[in-house]
């Protein structure tokens, strides 16, 4: 049963993608995608329970023990992120179907659904893979699908944005494969569990250089400053559900890969000053970028960059509390950022503009949308008691616990960024909602699609509230996951077998 549980999140979406290409009708494909994602979600929950109860779960694909074959591993971190991602991707699917990205025409449906399912498979594989090269393949599956999605029915601007996105991603992929070549050249293996000890035997300088190369290469996908430029130029142009799923998942997979590789392959004991500076730069450059924007989607994209900095914050501290904070922040941010992009789309649809300066002169999108926007927006700004606050508090406490100039720098930047995020969110709020409650002109709220969109957006927002309410168990889980990361013996032994090799 457990091997199936581990393989299902990867293989099932691919099976579904294959099926959806056989040419069934839209309604069938839609049901198929929904069912596949629902199963993946249930599966992820089961994995999370197992991983938390019994420690890391592993399956040797093909029955070949590592390092002969590829091992999928679900430890607490990967199972947790898998669960949250599955949830968000399910909700976003609902939104996409409602909004019509997925199926304005039969033809689009035949492109959207296979691509979306491959995207989900790629994301799942990235979380579960215990192999560096397989991680690359997972990234590629995810990215290839994302290229297709971002250019789906693209007009002129989106084609241009798609170019930026595709070319930068391709560059990062090429660099990733270069990294793998170098790592294999130095160690003769690509199994993550085996790489740690083998890298530890290398000359310190070479090892350090490899660690930094890993940071920069994965940093492109995670959009660290100064490797972030591509993101705000490409994400906002995509249809909202696609932007939402990109923002929620793709960069997080980059962050996850950073977490995994830097802790498992290049463990260190002290604070990582370089990464701390990068985190500070990412937070500040990102949020300043957000403040310079007039387009709501671009604004949100810049906040996405900015808040990647928070996730690096914890990794830079490189201790249990810091990583706990990072894990909490990732979970929170997946949900909040997805919700914001979805709700922003509702705003854009009902006001018929994405420009805040114009939106301020249009009728309000309505009270329900206001509530749906306010909750994730406050969460993102770290306003208590929402999930963003919990995660940020964990990071701040971790920073204060570490002490030292670098940690204080991080603390200061984090607080400043939070304040500026609030400023940015207040700006959107002001433009969108602070005006007389004239009803928005008939943006057909009653169609099934519109209802589905609202429901999906509300679903993600409620998920954010659940994260908030469950902060206690989640924080403890995050802490256990962070401990796993810093003491990977269990991970290694479940992959390599105890003392067998």
């Amino acid at each position: 049963m457990r091997p199936t549980l581990l393989a299902l999140p990867v293989l099932l979406p691919l099976l579904g993608a294959g099926l959806s290409l056989l040419g069934p009708r839209r309604a069938v494909i839609r049901g198929l995608s929904g069912a596949v994602l629902a199963v993946v979600l249930a599966d992820a929950v089961a994995l999370l329970v197992l991983a938390d109860r019994d420690g890391p779960q592993a399956v040797h694909m093909g029955g070949w023990p590592a390092p002969l074959g590829i091992t999928l591993v679900a430890d607490r971190l990967s199972a947790l992120l898998l669960t949250v991602s599955a949830l968000v991707s399910l909700a976003v699917l609902g939104f996409a179907v409602g909004q019509g990205t997925a199926e304005r025409r039969e033809r689009s449906a035949r492109v959207f659904h296979p691509a979306y399912l491959v995207l989900v498979a790629g994301v799942s594989l990235a979380y579960l893979s215990g192999d560096l090269f397989n991680l690359f393949v997972a990234f590629e599956a995810m990215l290839a699908a994302s290229y297709v999605l971002i250019t789906l029915d693209a007009g002129r601007n989106r084609t241009r944005a798609g170019m930026t996105y595709t070319i930068v991603s391709l560059t990062s992929s090429l660099l990733f494969i270069t990294l793998i070549a170098l790592v294999y050249a130095a160690t003769g293996t690509v199994t993550l569990a085996q790489l740690g000890p083998r890298l530890a035997e290398l000359d310190g300088g070479l090892r350090g250089a490899l660690a930094l190369l890993t940071l920069t290469v994965l940093g492109i996908k995670a959009a660290l400053v100064p490797l972030h430029f591509w993101l705000p130029d490409s994400y906002p142009t995509a249809p909202a559900p696609i932007t939402a799923v990109f923002a929620a998942l793709l960069t997080k997979v980059g962050v996850y890969a950073l977490l995994r590789t830097e802790t498992l392959l290049f463990p260190r004991t002290g604070v990582w000053p370089l990464l701390a500076w990068v985190a500070v730069a990412t937070m500040l450059v990102g949020i300043l970028g957000a403040l310079a924007q007039d387009d709501v989607n671009r604004l949100l994209s810049f906040t996405l960059v900015s808040h990647i900095g928070f996730m690096l914050f914890g990794l830079a501290l490189f201790d249990v509390r810091g990583l706990t904070g990072t894990i909490l922040y990732v979970v929170h941010h997946i949900v909040a950022q997805a919700a914001l992009f979805l709700v922003a789309d509702l705003m854009v649809r009902r006001t018929d503009t994405a420009a805040l300066s114009v939106m301020a002169r249009r009728p309000t999108p309505g009270a329900l949308v206001a509530v749906l926007f306010a909750l994730p927006a406050m969460s993102l700004a770290g306003v208590p008691p929402f999930s963003g606050f919990v995660a940020k508090l964990a990071l701040l406490q971790a920073g204060a616990g570490r002490g030292g100039a670098v940690a204080y720098l991080l603390l200061g930047a984090a607080v400043l960024t939070s304040a500026l995020t609030l400023y940015a969110m207040a700006r959107v709020w002001t433009a969108g909602f602070m005006k007389p409650p004239r009803p928005a002109r008939g943006a057909s709220v009653r169609t099934r699609g519109a209802r589905l969109m609202l429901t999906s957006a509300a679903g993600v927002t409620v998920a954010g509230l659940v994260v908030t309410a469950g902060a206690g168990p989640l924080a403890r889980l995050g802490e256990r996951a962070a401990q796993d990361l810093l003491r990977p013996q269990a991970y290694r032994s479940v992959v390599l077998g105890e003392g067998e090799r």
């Binding site: 290839a144 595709t166 070549a181 294999y184 130029d233």
Partner: protein
């Protein structure tokens, strides 16, 4: 005990340099070519840096001495990478086609909104920021 030799290291280095130089151009077609060349470079790197050269790793059906054979793992990885590179080359080419259809050329243009903000930045201090709706507002 380098697996890579000087000749091939130069070849790999030049392929990287040429590939990235082309990737840095504005014409999407040049970028496609750069990507193709880089794909060759990375696959070659994967093979020659990762594996010892030797006989093709095809045994005669009996378990054999691995040292005789060229390292098969980088080969398999390069195989995967070749296929992925091909798939994405096709995609990029189609993107170039679409761009040409829609824009009349296949150049990677600057982001309009960024340029607008850049203009504000250049004019900073010359008075109020004036915001106009983006040209392509949805």
């Amino acid at each position: 005990m380098n697996t890579i030799d000087l000749t091939l290291s130069v070849v790999v280095g030049v392929l990287f340099a040429v590939g990235f130089y082309l990737m840095l151009q504005r014409s999407l077609m040049r970028i496609v070519l750069g990507f193709i060349v880089l794909g060759h470079g990375t696959n070659l790197l994967l093979l020659v840096a990762g594996g010892t050269p030797g006989r093709p790793p095809i045994t005669d059906g009996k378990a054999a001495d691995p040292a005789r054979y060229a390292d098969p793992l980088p080969q398999a990885m390069a195989l995967t990478s070749i296929v992925i590179t091909f798939a994405l080359t096709a995609f990029l080419t189609a993107l170039a086609y679409r761009s040409w259809r829609l824009w009349g050329n296949d150049e990677v243009r600057d982001d309009v909104e960024d340029r607008r903000i850049g203009t504000f930045a250049e004019r900073a201090g010359h008075g109020e920021r004036e915001r106009t709706p983006p040209e392509d507002g949805r």
